[in-house]
Structures are given as structure tokens and as C-alpha cells.
């Protein structure tokens, strides 16, 4: 049975089909939620709310976009709502473009991609870097760069204009790149 057939069954109230859709997408949604929330309980809560939205609204799903695109939109907005309700955390300001791109910090980078999944130390470094980035920026970076949404799709998903998406993306990329520069950057010896 392909995904469209499973969705059609779920739309007719087939609970086993709904359960199948949850199983297909739970890893994707959890991974996304964790990368935005940076907390297991919050990621679980966001994932639960996202799939509850799916269960309640699956009959309205038109199939014009992929179900995954629809889920990313829902999980993004749940993540942002949760972040906005918890304003205690202060994030690094990204208002100064000149500080974000410092020509003196430009070095060669070296990463062995096959080592990435085995390296828990690297996981900690990535985690610390993205934690400093405000969720409004994380979501744009995640949708656009990690999930491969277009600039327009990213804007539609979270209610931002195209220039606002580009501005946030540019700052998020530059910020994360700067944070990782000490780990991956090195000066070539001549």
C-alpha cells in the first residue's frame, strides 16, 4: 500500500492507517522538534501535539502538498508557540551583520562526513551552537537548509515574507558557521 492509499484509509476513519502514518513520520517529526526545542520533554510534547493535529485534521488534507510538508509546517508552528510562551531564555543578538561576517575569521575547514554520526563530542558542539540561536532563526534554518523547503515554502509555513526568510537564514547560517569555526577551521601551513 502506498502513502496516498494509507492517507485515504485514514481519512475514512481507519485507525490502523492513522497509526501507520504516525509510525512513518514519528522519527522525522521528533528529530525536527528536538532540533528546535533542544529538550526531550518539549520535543515529545511538540511531537504529540503535531500528530494530534494530524489525527484531527487528516480528513481536510487535500493532498496538494506532501503530508511531510504539512507535518513540518504544523511542527514548526508548535515549536514556535512553545518557544514564545517561554521567554526566560536570552539568545545571542544577530542584528549586527558586520559582527556576523568577520573576514579575519575566514579559514579552511576540514570535516570527515562519515565520522559525523559516531562522534558524540561533535553532537555536543552542534547542540551548544544551535542552543544560542533564537528559535525563530532555528526554524528557518531547519526548514530551508535541513528539510529542503524553498524560501517561499519556508515563508508560507511560518508566516514570514521572502525577504524576512532570507535575512533570518543568512544570519542563522553565518552565526552557526562562526560558532563551529573553532572546531572545524584551521590555518593552512605553507
Amino acid at each position: 500500500m502506498n502513502e496516498n492509499e494509507i492517507i485515504a484509509k485514514a481519512q475514512k476513519g481507519d485507525r490502523a492507517a492513522l497509526s501507520k502514518l504516525v509510525k512513518i513520520y514519528e522519527q522525522t517529526v521528533y528529530n525536527f522538534a528536538y532540533k528546535i526545542c533542544r529538550d526531550k520533554e518539549k520535543a515529545e510534547h511538540t511531537m504529540q501535539e503535531t500528530f494530534m493535529s494530524m489525527v484531527k485534521s487528516i480528513d481536510q488534507f487535500s493532498g496538494k502538498s506532501k503530508l511531510s510538508t504539512w507535518l513540518y509546517t504544523v511542527v514548526s508552528n508548535h515549536c514556535l508557540m512553545m518557544a514564545r510562551s517561554n521567554k526566560k531564555h536570552a539568545y545571542t543578538s544577530l542584528d549586527d551583520d558586520d559582527a556576523l561576517i568577520d573576514p579575519k575569521s575566514i579559514t579552511d575547514w576540514e570535516i570527515a562526513p562519515d565520522k559525523l554520526t559516531e562522534n558524540s563530542e561533535l553532537g555536543g558542539i552542534l547542540d551548544e551552537a544551535i542552543k544560542k540561536l533564537a528559535p525563530d532563526y532555528r526554524v528557518v534554518f531547519m526548514l530551508r537548509d535541513i528539510q529542503g523547503f524553498s524560501t517561499e515554502e519556508t515563508g508560507e509555513a511560518i508566516g514570514l515574507s521572502v525577504p524576512a526568510v532570507k535575512s533570518r537564514l543568512h544570519r542563522a547560517r553565518a552565526f552557526l558557521r562562526n560558532e563551529l569555526n573553532n572546531t572545524f577551521g584551521y590555518e593552512k601551513r605553507s
Binding site: L18, E44, M47, Q48, F51, P103, T117, R177, N181
Partner: protein
């Protein structure tokens, strides 16, 4: 940092950020590509931004069996396992 007639490295870096992964055939991006071909600093910056994206793409948080069970329970689908 070297400076072109029309465009600086800083301009290029900003536009790289805007356009990475998108269509680079517009006149502005053609100028940027040309600059990129000849500027070592911008090449390094482009590579480091690309690699930043790559490391975050590769890094994945796995859902635990406990989270999976709690999810199905929350949705009232625990009997569909």
C-alpha cells in the same frame, strides 16, 4: 580582503548566504560566481557555510521506544500496534 570593481568580498558572502542551494543564474549571481572563482577567501567562506549545513543535516536525534509508546497512548492508538 580584495575588492572587485563592482562587488566586495563582503557583498559576495552576504549573497552566498542568500543564494546557497538556489538558482545561481541571475545576473547578480553570475557576477558573484565570477568573483567566487577568483577569490580564495570567499571560496573558503562558501565551503564553511556548506559544511555547517552538512553537519546539521547529518546529525539526527532518534526517537526512543518510550517516546513512541507515549505518543501512541496520547493519540489513543496504542491498540493499533
Amino acid at each position: 580582503m580584495k575588492k572587485d570593481h563592482k562587488i566586495t568580498c563582503k557583498d559576495v558572502m552576504n549573497h552566498i548566504c542568500d543564494t546557497l542551494g538556489e538558482d545561481l543564474d541571475s545576473p547578480t549571481c553570475t557576477t558573484i560566481k565570477s568573483h567566487l572563482d577568483n577569490c580564495e577567501s570567499c571560496q573558503k567562506y562558501y565551503k564553511s557555510i556548506s559544511q555547517t549545513i552538512l553537519v546539521y543535516k547529518k546529525y539526527e536525534w532518534k526517537i526512543s521506544s518510550d517516546s513512541h509508546t507515549k505518543l501512541l497512548d496520547f493519540l489513543g492508538l496504542d491498540d493499533c500496534e
